[in-house]
């Protein structure tokens, strides 16, 4: 597995327990060679464990893991990490403090005895991450971002067929995080390796991924392209975890193809149905931030053509601005409505606090799901 091109990763039915706690509950997924796969989930969801099972640092209790055509874990078979042809970036970088930057980066080459000029290759890798001339320093003398780049160079230098990233950006500040994300994306894709990257930050996941796997309490709840995850989340958990402006109660009035029409507290909203809904059911209305738009003051009458039905304007919710946050390109507003709050409602101009407004909800970005709790 020393090739410079990626390997397909196939995980089938992997279970991992720590004592009585099940960290991974029959997880299966497949990544094509060269694909950039992001595992997304809150802390404790098992994403880190899955990554470590892929690395071979943890042994799976059940299931099998294939890298390309090689079976690396099944039953008693366990190929150790050093034999899997990996590169990995750790959350705390795990740069060996007693070795120089150059020695850290050269380490995988020396272990592989890959031949050629080790120092030259290590220097080349450092140059790629913008750290040429840093070779003689020790990790403790570098800033967090520089340490991260060294870790990236160390992971890339051995031309691994599988690159693993364990929340590599979580220890950095916002500005640096964005820049390094771009670097990781370009360098990892350039290397041709298959990438598995874990994060709890949904924006990072959407920005990087070819495929996203969402984990919740040890289960893989959705595995899809980013667009699909965003537009058709598999369940309310995925929807909530990938970013919502609001989560509101409602009652299903009728079904309309893939949409459901929900009534509640003086509003009527069309939303994509997650399925399993029937007229009269209690439901939740989940609203993506991008599906909201402020239109105008609430005291004015609705314009003709807004689709007034039974005196209620379709997809329009009256509310009051309670907070405005300047975001550079425009303003995020917080709007209170009769039975809840809409957050992250974007507009290019600022609406003063206390303004009565109406928020238009785009059915494409609204999701209707069954309500497991009793309605109000």
């Amino acid at each position: 597995m020393n090739g410079s091109s990626g390997v397909a990763v196939k995980v089938s039915g992997v279970v991992k327990r720590f004592g009585t706690h099940t960290a991974l509950d029959t997880v299966s997924l497949t990544a094509e060679a060269g694909e950039f796969l992001v595992l997304l989930g809150p802390s404790g969801s098992g994403k880190s464990t899955l990554l470590r099972v892929l690395a071979g640092i943890e042994r799976a209790d059940e299931g099998r893991v294939m890298l390309g055509d090689t079976l690396v874990a099944e039953g008693n078979l366990h190929v150790p990490p050093e034999k899997r042809g990996l590169g990995m970036v750790f959350q705390d970088y795990a740069l060996w403090p007693h070795l120089t930057v150059a020695d850290n980066v050269a380490y995988p080459l020396r272990r592989k005895r890959s031949g050629g000029d080790v120092a030259e290759k290590a220097g080349g890798a450092l140059e790629k991450v913008g750290l040429s001339g840093y070779g003689k320093r020790y990790p403790g003398e570098l800033s967090g971002g520089e340490q991260q780049r060294v870790a990236l160079a160390r992971a890339l230098v051995g031309r691994p067929s599988l690159l693993l990233f364990d929340e590599p950006l979580s220890n950095l500040d916002a500005d640096l995080r964005e820049r390094l994300r771009v670097e990781i994306s370009t360098l990892a894709r350039e290397s041709g390796a298959t990438v598995v990257y874990i994060t709890h930050d949904q924006s990072e996941a959407f920005a990087l991924a070819d495929m996203i796997g969402v984990l919740e309490r040890g289960r893989l709840v959705q595995f899809d392209r980013p667009e699909t995850v965003y537009l058709s989340p598999a369940d309310p958990f995925v929807a909530r975890f990938t970013g919502l402006a609001a989560d509101l109660p409602g009652v299903v009035v009728r079904l309309d193809g893939e949409f459901a029409v929900l009534d509640g507290c003086g509003r009527r909203v069309r939303a994509r149905s997650m399925g399993g809904l029937a007229a009269g059911d209690a439901a939740r209305l989940l609203v993506r931030p991008a599906a909201t738009r402020i239109v105008r003051g609430g005291d004015e009458p609705a314009e003709p053509g807004d689709g007034v039905v039974d005196g209620v304007v379709d997809g329009v919710v009256p509310g009051t601005i309670v907070d405005v946050a300047y975001r550079g390109r425009g303003y995020d507003h917080v709007v209170t409505i009769s039975d809840g709050v809409l957050t992250g409602v974007f507009d290019e101009r600022a609406w003063p606090r206390g303004s009565a407004v109406r928020v238009v909800l785009d059915p494409q970005g609204c999701i209707a799901t069954g309500d497991v709790t009793n309605l109000m």
């Binding site: 403090p97 007693h98 070795l99 380490y107 051995g158 220890n171 009565a356």
Partner: protein
């Protein structure tokens, strides 16, 4: 924007003015409290007090060391300046003693560091069965003075010892092994293992497991991984080597017992001999003191040079803590076996030797049927046996209490100095403490005898020679550096913001200290007190140099009894004292559990 109602429904940024002024007020008060204007007088008074203490405690040592190069200045010879004492110390039997000291010190340091590192990795990385028990055994080993271990081995292996008495035959090879360099090295090494363990396990704990995982992921096999780990442990290994070496060459207990019995001279014993023989050879003793200190300094310098220039500080962020792996099958048996062998040789055998000697009576021909508790009965009946125990108990209570109180103050100053990266007083104090740690107790004791016996000093009205007060001062001077070092780590962990927060919210300086720092450090303070107490109760070198006639402390009484062939009496006194220490430690811990508020115990540190 048609609606322009600006009355904010949610008041986010209104701060009541009273709160602001309170914040400002305390802030100002806090800074004026640090400003020199009002406090320069108190600071001066403090400095003078510290200076006086340093003078009383360390100046005698300085005088003693100077006598080596200028005997005439102290009325000890003709020369104002001479190197003759040094030259004679570097020849003949004292040179042999110094060489023996250096070689056994190096061997002990290497062995102790190897064992200590193995233990640190075992306890830090794996789930050792009976881990609590082994830890307890390590603490026992830390508390047991070297002469106890040496006595135990000696009583066991001697010609008329326990093994000979029980088996009826003399095990010659064992006697030759124990009563020689190998025995000395083993006692010093096993005594050093807890120090090495503590030095290395701190680093092991800080390592986390990602470093090793990173090596595996990037292709390292078992040996490469071990190399990486050992490389990262280097600071801990070097300090373990330096500490054990310094402890070993400063040790007096082995020299006075096992080594003396085996005709294997070592430097501390030679130094004590030069002082206590008649006529006393102070310049010669001081020369040995110099050379001992040079050896310690070498060790400390080597440690500094080995770790200098390399920063081991890495991003501490969210390193994954090491999850100890369970030991199974062969590894479990191997680990348990190794632990058993080590603790048997370091603790079990000496303890068996001591206890059985105390039960056997003083007749070499005794067999197993003649076990008797007579010696214990005598301990409580004969005042010459019980007296030393009670005296040492009193001395230990006094010195431990003062040393921990003063040590806490010193540790606080040092911790603050380290945090503020200030030079001046804090770094001077740090240097003094380091010097005091490097100062062998035997040199300290000799210094006190020499200086407080000088006619010039007694003429000044300082009548300390031959008093219990001088012994207390000596014991304190010996305990202070260790106590403050013990507490320093804990004080360094307490953020300045904790007491500051208490003061900002209305507590006075004393209350702030009592409600924030004291609860957090109560466990550390208690442990520091217990360790100092046990250590001082069994202390030998200072006690043997400074005890007033007719008032023998415990360790002196024990060695005297044994030198006078009262083996049962001597060992029984020792056993009673050790049981007493265990009782005090147990009682203190139980009381702490029962009486201290629940929040204090959360921070209990080992």
């Amino acid at each position: 924007m048609t609606a322009t109602d600006h009355s904010a429904p949610v008041p986010v940024r209104t701060v009541p003015s009273t709160v602001e002024s309170t914040v400002d007020g305390t802030g100002r008060r806090r800074f004026s409290w640090r400003r020199p204007a009002a406090t320069s007088l108190t600071r001066l008074a403090w400095s003078l007090a510290v200076l006086a203490v340093v003078l009383v405690m360390l100046a005698p040592v300085l005088g003693f060391l100077l006598v080596a190069i200028s005997p005439r200045a102290f009325g000890q010879g003709d020369a104002w300046f001479t190197l003759a004492p040094l030259a004679s110390a570097l020849s003949g039997s004292t040179l042999q003693a110094l060489l023996n000291t250096a070689i056994t010190g190096v061997c002990a340091a290497v062995i102790a560091t190897a064992i200590g590192t193995a233990l640190a990795l075992l306890f830090g990385r794996t789930q050792v069965p009976l881990a609590g028990f082994w830890r307890l055994a390590l603490w026992a080993l830390l508390l047991a003075p070297s002469y106890l271990e040496a006595l135990g081995w000696t009583r066991l292996a001697e010609r008329d010892g326990v093994l000979a008495a029980l088996s009826g035959t003399d095990i010659t090879w064992l006697r030759h092994l124990v009563m020689g360099p190998a025995g000395v090295v083993w006692v010093l090494a096993s005594r050093g293992v807890p120090f090495a363990f503590l030095a290395v396990s701190g680093v092991v704990r800080g390592l986390g497991r990602d470093y090793e995982d990173a090596a595996r992921v990037h292709g390292a096999g078992r040996w490469s991984r071990l190399r990486i780990t050992i490389g990262m442990l280097a600071p801990g290994l070097w300090s373990a080597l330096a500490i054990v070496f310094a402890e070993a060459i400063s040790d007096y207990g082995v020299g006075a017992t096992l080594a003396a019995g085996a005709n294997f001279p070592i430097a501390t014993y030679a130094l004590a001999g030069a002082v206590t023989n008649f006529p006393a050879d102070y310049p010669g003793a001081a020369a040995i003191g110099w050379l001992l200190m040079v050896l310690v300094l070498f060790a400390l310098l080597a440690q500094r040079m080995a770790t200098r220039g390399r920063s081991y500080a890495v991003l501490s962020g969210r390193s994954r803590p090491c999850r100890p792996v369970p030991l199974r099958g062969g590894r479990r048996v191997l680990a348990l076996g190794a632990l058993c062998v080590f603790f048997l040789l370091a603790l079990g055998v000496p303890a068996f030797g001591t206890v059985s000697a105390s039960l056997l009576g003083n007749f070499g021909s005794a067999d197993a049927s003649s076990f008797t508790l007579q010696a214990y009965q005598q301990v409580f009946e004969r005042s010459d046996l019980l007296g030393p125990v009670l005296l040492s108990l009193r001395l230990a209570l006094i010195t431990a209490t003062i040393a921990v109180a003063a040590g806490a103050l010193i540790a606080r100053v040092l911790a603050r100095g380290a945090r503020a990266r200030r030079g001046g007083a804090a770094s001077l104090l740090d240097l003094l403490m380091l010097g005091a740690v490097a100062l062998p107790a035997i040199v300290l004791g000799a210094g006190y005898i020499f200086t407080y016996n000088l006619p010039a000093v007694t003429a000044l009205g300082i009548q300390l020679y031959g008093t219990l007060t001088l012994l207390v001062i000596g014991l304190l001077a010996g305990a202070l550096p260790q106590a403050s070092r013990l507490l320093m780590g804990s004080f360094a962990q307490v953020q300045d913001s904790l007491p500051a927060a208490a003061r900002v919210h209305g507590a006075g300086a004393a209350r702030a200290w009592g409600t924030t720092i004291l609860p957090l450090l109560s466990g550390s303070l208690l442990w520091a007190w217990l360790l100092t107490f046990a250590d001082r109760l069994l202390e030998l070198p200072l006690a043997s140099m400074l005890y007033p006639p007719g008032q023998e402390p415990l360790a002196v009484a024990v060695t005297t009894l044994i030198a006078g062939y009262d083996f049962a009496g001597g060992t029984a006194v020792l056993v009673v004292a050790c049981l007493g220490i265990l009782a005090v430690i147990g009682a203190a811990l139980v009381l702490f559990r029962l009486l201290a508020p629940a929040g204090w115990r959360r921070w209990e540190q080992r």
